[in-house]
Symmetry: C2
Subunit: 424 residues, 2 copies
């Protein structure tokens, strides 16, 4: 065994045999490294370069995990920066009704829509919610997501929001970032008293949940919270040290993107109706634009102007918006394909938005989202020899292996969560 | 053990524990049987009814295969009646070029497109082609397709078309129906002499391949074969006893649907540009309309007017059109979701088109496509308790188990191809 340079411990993880590494390093494109290899130490990438240099440059522990990609393409793990992955109940019947022409307003008036999910989520025990969530995390991981943002927002009481955030932290190899979304909807018990609910969020919920969520999000749109209500929540959250996010300009041009720029949100999400003025404001304030093509697909609605975001120099992120009403899909590969087909992104632009751009949307661009020295060793081995198969061969799962923190957690399409890495 | 009625042998397969069976029996809808069970003998369904009646009504062999659906929904296996599943090479790079605005005509002129697939397929050995095909059949099966039509058409010489049809018959539990599509494109060596190539098809290929293909298909459209050339091929095929199919009115309203009605095709496929006149002609001649939403999705093109087909009383089928250029997706669940989202089908209409309608498109409606006594015991156990999850929870694989001919061939997401059923 070679001595590690500078007295560092030898590497405990090696990836070799890849046709290519799509590193996402550099200012744009995929940072493609043909015939590249990678080594990691204690969960972080320690070396990356041509495989022929591996033995010469890197000291590897005798009991290191060695992943042979067997000629496959390798990507950074997907980062999914906008999900509502904790909920109970199903809205499959409502989906059929919507296809048959029933409006969401009508469904909501009948006690369906988000109200149905709030009822089911409140009724679920903490254990039930954790079990449902763990199953979903398995599916996210199997499809290649290694870092996942999860929002609360179907509890809408302090206790139920707490229950959701606890379920979001259920033990699982998938890395998570938690967001408090108390301002997702006005709960029935506050019907007609939205300001009182906003007051409850600001006075009680935000301080109480500070240790459980890193971000605070607000649904600022027609039928949800006004710009002024949203501003109140976001400013209160900012005073407490939360990072800020916002559901902005999804249903109408309703002021959310402007507010995001005003208060300094890390990301503004949806942005279907954003015009050049909103885009310029986001660009000035360095707010990441999160596009959610799965939601547009499900609702048969317009897609966010993602090409315009890129042309304006915004950092673009893609996310599933996984939720039981308007985007029941945990597969970021499908989101990437939709972004290419429906938002006219180039394959490399979409992949970058689903990894490095997505990491920026949750303030993790220095930790995850690319294969670079110092970052977390989170990567995917595809069932393909080029990253461009991901968009081209759609509607299926092309992820064969997944590594999180230098540990193999998916092998041949099954969650394995090998602990070997910890012993190295 | 109960004696089987009428002296028949006892059943060798039982499905129980299902939340519901979507049988597809009856004139429309899903023929939903809540709490239904099913028994089969020698690969065919022998009984279907409420589970509480199972023990009283059915004699079951002691060594029968018993599948417990554990509260899941059960469907007939998907029938995919239009695929080009045998080919070599990848066109991923071309896909990126097309997204960037390069036209298909330009790609073709540069030696890409179908020409690239013909070159790669001709260059592949029979063994290579069979190995590629077997891997794809695994993926079709894992996504719930139990009967698959496969076309030739990337060989375009007698020897290479034969090689493709042989690969299509590679040993695998997935049931296949083979179609000769010599008239897919005019090969380079016949450039400018399309009529001579048609003559070769009619004189040599059709008689030589009679025992290897059940159907003959023609790509009748602008840039492919004219109505007169297509008619010549189809009539020659009809004289030899082939069933007839046609790629019709995909790129333009070019006469294919009318021709299908004239010559008595079993199905007319694509039909993006069909008007009420074409629809009326198809209805008169009882031609099944095959819609291919994955192709429209990939090309960013219009979708076939599937609602109009249903309103006119046509039998509607859905298929993947799986191919390396314009629809690289083997997942019928995704096709069903696209048909709901983009063609505005109700979930039940789309499921029916993907099973019983699809069976009719390959003349198999008496054998497969529904759960009815006498039909093949081909069924899917979902990772969901209702069939309506299939459209609603999209972009993933909700098929947990697959049974073909009363044999378990997929269990927990892996191909197992149990042979136990044969011994019963």
């Amino acid at each position: 065994m070679k001595a590690a340079p500078g007295g560092a411990r030898p590497c405990d993880f090696v990836l070799r045999g890849a046709a290519e590494l799509a590193t996402m390093s550099g200012a744009d494109g995929c940072g493609l490294l043909t015939g590249g290899a990678l080594a990691a130490r204690e969960g972080r990438i320690a070396w990356i370069g041509p495989e022929r240099d591996l033995n010469r440059c890197v000291a590897v522990a005798g009991d290191a995990i060695v992943v042979d990609a067997e000629g496959a393409a390798v990507l950074p793990g997907f980062v999914d920066p906008h999900t509502h992955a904790v909920f109970a109940g199903s809205r499959a019947v409502e989906y059929g009704e919507r296809l048959a022409g029933r409006t969401y307003t009508d469904i909501l008036a009948g006690g369906g829509g988000i109200k149905a999910t709030v009822r089911a989520t409140r009724a679920a025990t903490a254990e039930q919610l954790a079990a449902l969530t763990r199953r979903r995390l398995d599916s996210f991981l199997l499809h290649g997501t290694t870092t996942l943002e999860i929002k609360s927002g179907y509890g809408l009481t302090l206790a139920d929001e707490h229950k959701m955030l606890a379920a979001a932290a259920v033990e699982h190899p998938l890395r998570r970032v938690r967001t408090f979304l108390g301002a997702h909807a006005v709960p029935d018990e506050f019907a007609g008293r939205a300001d009182d609910y906003v007051e409850l969020i600001c006075r009680e919920m935000l301080p109480a949940l500070r240790s459980e969520a890193e971000f605070v999000d607000v649904f600022c749109d027609i039928g949800a919270f006004t710009v002024e209500q949203s501003r109140r929540v976001l400013l209160a959250a900012r005073r407490l040290g939360y990072g800020l996010k916002i559901h902005a300009d999804e249903l109408a041009l309703s002021g959310g993107a402007r507010l995001a720029a005003d208060v300094g949100c890390v990301s503004a999400d949806h942005l279907v109706h954003a015009t050049w003025e909103e885009i310029a404001a986001l660009q000035q304030a360095a707010v990441v634009a999160v596009a959610l093509p799965g939601t547009s697909f499900t609702l048969g609605a317009a897609y966010a102007p993602a090409r315009a975001f890129l042309e304006a120099g915004l950092v673009l992120a893609l996310a599933t918006d996984f939720n039981p009403g308007t985007s029941y899909c945990e597969n970021m590969q499908m989101v990437v394909a939709l972004a290419c087909q429906e938002m006219h992104l180039a394959p490399e632009e979409a992949l970058r938005a689903a990894t490095l751009g997505a990491a920026a949307a949750i303030g993790r661009q220095d930790e995850v989202g690319s294969l670079e020295v110092g970052k977390r060793c989170d990567l995917l081995v595809l069932d393909a020899d080029t990253h461009s198969e991901l968009q081209y061969h759609w509607g299926v799962n092309l992820v064969r292996g997944v590594v999180v923190d230098g540990r193999v957690v998916v092998s041949d399409g099954s969650v394995v969560d090998s602990q070997v890495g910890d012993a190295a």
